[in-house]
């Protein structure tokens, strides 16, 4: 064996070791990365039509508060959460449902019948009967749920 042969054998083994080691590192790093960031990419909330109640309970021209319970799954834990929505109708046929969560910082708004406005007690946010901002800090109108009526039962689309 000449000096050159020994050198190339040595550097070949060195390169091979680094290559195999690097390959194993990548093979391990990719699943590890997927494992770590996986749940943050998964959509945990699925869209669901949730029954609010009978349409006959909605007063014409006066937002009525409906409460319902939805199941939330986070990780391996299933929990129940109460959601509330103000349902509004002008004619008893077309319904719209507004979230009662203030778009400012998430406090619950309530309907003040005397002034016909939604009022948020946290920072004095005020919305009109359609959920549009009248005054105060809220950056956008109240969120709306999609609604559907089936056999005089009112449903809203939750999640998504």
């Amino acid at each position: 064996m000449t000096e050159e042969d020994q050198l190339s054998r040595r550097s070949f083994l060195s390169i091979a070791t680094w290559a195999i080691g690097g390959f194993m590192g990548i093979v391990l790093a990719i699943p590890a990365l997927a494992y770590i960031i996986g749940p943050s990419l998964q959509r945990t909330k699925s869209e669901n039509w949730v029954r609010l109640g009978s349409t006959s309970k909605v007063e014409i021209g006066n937002p009525s508060l409906f409460k319902t319970v939805v199941e939330n799954q986070t990780g391996w834990i299933v929990s129940e959460a109460e959601i509330s929505a103000y349902v509004i109708t002008e004619n008893g046929r077309d319904f719209s449902a507004l979230s009662n969560i203030c778009t400012h910082l998430g406090c619950r708004v309530r309907w003040i019948p005397e002034s016909e406005q939604f009022f948020c007690p946290c920072h004095n946010g005020v919305f009109d009967s359609q959920g549009l901002v009248i005054s105060g800090p809220p950056p956008r109108p109240l969120d709306r749920y999609e609604t559907r009526v089936e056999n005089d039962q009112l449903f809203i689309l939750v999640g998504g």
Partner: protein, 219 residues
């Protein structure tokens, strides 16, 4: 550029000497059985890596342990792989460590001046078995529950102190949340600390003393 950075660092850290001592040391002509120790070390590093990943989702309480393990296995991307590697790696650790020990025994590599290497190796094997025993309970399914019931019961039959050992291991009369929590704590804090310290000593001695040659037929 890379050479310059290497030189700059070497002037300050002296890392080339360390590198040479670890990877470029002289070894006698040996056979493939001499790779068993490195193989054990490699699987051990893999166990540390996958074990750390598992703790990202695993929760060691009776009401969450089983569900979080199921969540890892069925919901988290590559969770089945990470858990599978950790699961099979555990068995591989024991098998490789024992094979490594058998090689050392048969080649007489435990003799002077390598006795301390041997002692530390024996404790390392016990630590590996401890890892296996404590890790087995963590999925908190029927198999792990009853295996730990039996395993702690076996410790309980030791004369005089058996009953105390049993109670200390379980943290009370029966297997409970306390048992699960202390097995988890032992598995992820106590044993890894002991393992890393002893592995450092073990490898330091291997490098300092050098590995033994294959014994000759007549000497």
């Amino acid at each position: 550029m890379a050479v310059q950075v290497g030189n700059w660092l070497d002037e300050r850290l002296g890392w080339r000497k360390v590198w040479e001592a670890i990877f470029l040391r002289k070894v006698p002509k040996v056979n493939w059985l001499y790779t068993l120790g490195s193989a054990t070390l490699f699987v051990g590093l893999l166990q540390i890596f996958t074990g750390i990943l598992l703790t990202i989702y695993y929760v060691p309480t009776p009401d969450h342990a089983y569900d979080s393990v199921q969540y890892i296995t069925t919901q988290v991307p590559a969770g089945w792989l990470i858990r599978g590697l950790h699961h099979w790696g555990a068995s591989a650790m024991v098998v490789l460590a024992v094979l490594h020990m058998i090689r050392v025994i048969l080649y007489g590599a435990y003799k002077f001046p390598r006795e301390v290497t041997w002692f530390s190796g024996v404790f390392l094997l016990l630590i590996v078995l401890g890892f296996g025993f404590t890790g087995y309970l963590l999925p908190w399914d029927q198999k792990s529950y009853w295996a730990t019931t039996v395993g702690t019961r076996i410790a309980g039959v030791a004369p005089v102190v058996g009953e105390s050992i049993l109670r200390i291991m379980r943290g009370g009369e029966d297997l409970s949340a306390i048992t699960l929590a202390r097995f988890f704590g032992t598995h992820v804090w106590v044993l890894p600390t002991a393992l890393i310290l002893l592995v450092a000593l073990h490898i330091y001695l291997v490098i300092r003393i050098g590995i033994s040659a294959v014994p000759k037929r007549e000497e």
